[in-house]
């Protein structure tokens, strides 16, 4: 349960193609993350799968069944919205029970399922409250509760954590991943945050201007980015990209070196530069270096190195960790 196949799916808004033709297969029980910059079409793609937007072309199949022309309710999917979209006039219980009520379940079944969901999500003490009496994290849990009671074929998450503060975001990230392990249901998760994508996904779909740039496991994308866009988008801090004469020396139109694969030395190396800013995180230090010839670069060193603003350093990429790209920006 929960196989989703997209074939030549496209969407235009008033003549503007937001998503040109696109194919994608999502396997049973997979946790797939759509990631990309804002406006890349990831939310639109999710809404097409949900049935909240009409497609301009193509077909969507869920478990082999063509759902292209079916309304959202008939697709057997649940969705968690960015704004939580709870029903403000209903209690937490009422919110979680709503999909069951719509499905025509009897009172006893509804009660059992709501209580089960509340237990999984630690909401048992809040069932009588209204959404406005809850914190952001609790609201998010209610939204998830409402999604899981229906036992859908797949869950759709539309940037569900972007309204939470940083600490809560990390906690909820773990909770959702854990929920996925518990339920084993297919999940499609949209985010613009590459850290969420890296930490949660079985497979990441990187989108740019409505096109799929690359599909793969988080480490695949990290190790073997297919092109410059993916190289620049996945990984934090961003990959250093150098083009021109310096890149030609290494046999490519553009070379990319991740900050963590850059060796820093006070004596010698490939690129000489001056430290602009040193960010000390305790566990790591990020050095923003202005190099001669290769432009600004970032290096990530483990622990404290005792380097500060204004010092001269040499940077050299780890030889087996250099990414090479051709003129068109594709990986060599």
């Amino acid at each position: 349960m929960g196989r989703i196949n997209l074939r030549q799916v496209s969407k235009s808004f008033g003549g503007v193609a937001v998503i040109p033709e696109l194919d994608l297969d999502i396997g049973e029980g997979e946790f797939v993350v759509f990631v990309g910059p804002s406006g890349c079409g990831k939310s639109t793609l999710l809404r097409l799968i949900a049935g909240l937007e009409d497609m301009s072309g193509g077909t969507i199949k869920i478990d082999g069944e063509d759902v292209t022309s079916q309304p959202p309710a008939k697709r057997g999917l649940s969705m968690v919205f960015q704004s939580y979209a709870l029903y403000p006039h209903m209690s937490v219980y009422g919110n979680i029970a709503f999909p069951l009520k719509m499905a025509g379940d009897d009172k006893a079944t509804i009660d059992k399922k709501v209580q089960d969901a509340a237990r999984i999500l630690n909401l048992t003490d809040y069932l009588d409250r209204k959404p406005r009496q809850l914190s952001g994290g609790q609201r998010q849990r209610v939204a998830i509760g409402r999604a899981i009671v229906r036992e859908p074929r797949a869950f759709l998450f539309d940037e569900p954590l972007s309204n939470l503060d940083a600490a809560l975001r990390v906690a909820m990230r773990l909770e959702i991943t854990e929920l996925h392990h518990q339920l084993g249901t297919t999940m499609i998760y949209v985010t613009h945050d590459q850290t969420e994508a890296m930490t949660m996904a079985d497979r990441i779909v990187v989108l740019n201007k409505g096109r799929i740039e690359q599909v793969g496991s988080p480490l695949d994308l990290y190790r073997k980015p297919a092109n410059l866009f993916v190289a620049g988008f996945i990984g934090s801090p961003k990959m250093n990209l150098v083009s021109g004469a310096e890149a030609a020396k290494l046999g490519a139109a553009t070379v990319g070196v991740r900050p963590e694969h850059m060796a820093v030395s006070r004596e010698s190396g490939l690129w000489q530069g001056t430290i602009g800013i040193a960010e000390h995180l305790g566990s790591d230090t990020f050095l923003h270096v202005r190099t001669e010839g290769a432009g600004p670069m970032t290096a990530r060193v483990s622990g404290e190195m005792g380097l500060t603003h204004g010092e001269t350093v040499w940077l050299s990429p780890a030889p087996d960790k250099v990414h090479r790209f051709d003129q068109a920006g594709l990986s060599l």
Binding site: Y87, F98, R146
Partner: protein, 276 residues
């Protein structure tokens, strides 16, 4: 950061607030007091506030000279009738504009509002002639129609503002949760919109209740509401201040009571969307 306000300042502001409140309320209070005076005391100079001969004779006189209940019922029919009819048109209109707006939506709203910018007297003659030819003069039906049309722009605007504040994602969530359009309307949309609809109803009942221009010009005896009832006490032969006051008090009392009980709802309705 909250500003610290000293006690004398607070007292001064309180005094100013009460003075302004009393100033605004004074005409109504004065009308009510005058209604309990005799005609002689009502025009006495200097006027007395409390120490006069309190009497109910004006109320008795007003009731015996003209039928209060009949005018009252006419007022109720006109104000509630026009509000009900207006809702039937305004809800779908506001709904469509709030949930599937087009690039012309703003223009349509502006156009509707622009009809309120024209002085009513500008269309008095054509409307009067239309009413005469269709036999609607001095008929409740006619007044309900006119009142509906007059207040429709305000109703649509108020409901539109209300509906627009209902997040679209909640409706989408209902759709995802398996609600059909009918269930979506019954379980999600209507409960969320009820406060907005209620305050729209209240405001429109009050506006229609107090509307005097059309009710005076389009009625004679049959369909005359309370506004005409008051006006009948101001005649060219002379003003009967005490009786006029008694009639006014009787006319505003029902709406005042309605307003008093629903003031929270009303204030919320009028400021909704303006203050988040």
């Amino acid at each position: 950061m909250a500003r610290a306000v000293s006690t004398p300042r607070k007292l001064a502001f309180t005094a100013i607030g009460w003075s302004i409140g009393l100033l605004i309320f004074f005409p109504i209070l004065w009308t009510a007091i005058t209604s309990f005076k005799t005609e002689g005391e009502a025009i006495a100079s200097p006027p007395s506030f409390l120490f006069f001969h309190w009497t109910l004779e004006n109320y008795a006189e007003v009731q015996s000279r003209s039928d209060y209940l009949k005018h009252f019922i006419n007022s109720v029919v006109i104000s509630f009738g026009s509000t009900g009819l207006g809702l039937l048109i305004a809800i779908p209109a506001a709904w469509a504009m709030a949930f599937s707006p087009t690039k012309r939506t703003k223009d349509v709203l502006m156009w509707m509002l622009s009809t309120k910018m024209m002085p009513p007297v500008g269309v008095l003659v054509p409307i009067y002639l239309l009413f005469r030819d269709t036999g609607l003069l001095d008929k409740l039906t006619g007044l309900v129609i006119v009142m509906t049309l007059i207040n429709l722009p305000i109703m649509v605007w108020m409901l539109y503002t209300y509906f627009r504040d209902i997040p679209g994602e909640i409706l989408e969530a209902a759709r995802m949760d398996g609600a059909t359009l009918a269930k979506e309307i019954v379980y999600v949309l209507t409960p969320m919109a009820i406060p907005g609809i209620a305050s729209t109803v209240l405001l429109n009942v009050i506006l229609s209740w107090n509307e005097a221009f059309w009710t005076l010009n389009l009625t004679a005896a049959g369909a005359a509401p309370l506004t005409a009832f008051i006006a009948s006490y101001s005649s060219p032969e002379g003003l009967f201040w005490a009786k006029l006051s008694a009639a006014s008090t009787l006319a505003v009392a029902p709406i005042l009571v309605l307003g008093w009980f629903s003031q929270r709802q009303l204030v919320r309705g009028l400021t909704f969307g303006a203050v988040k």
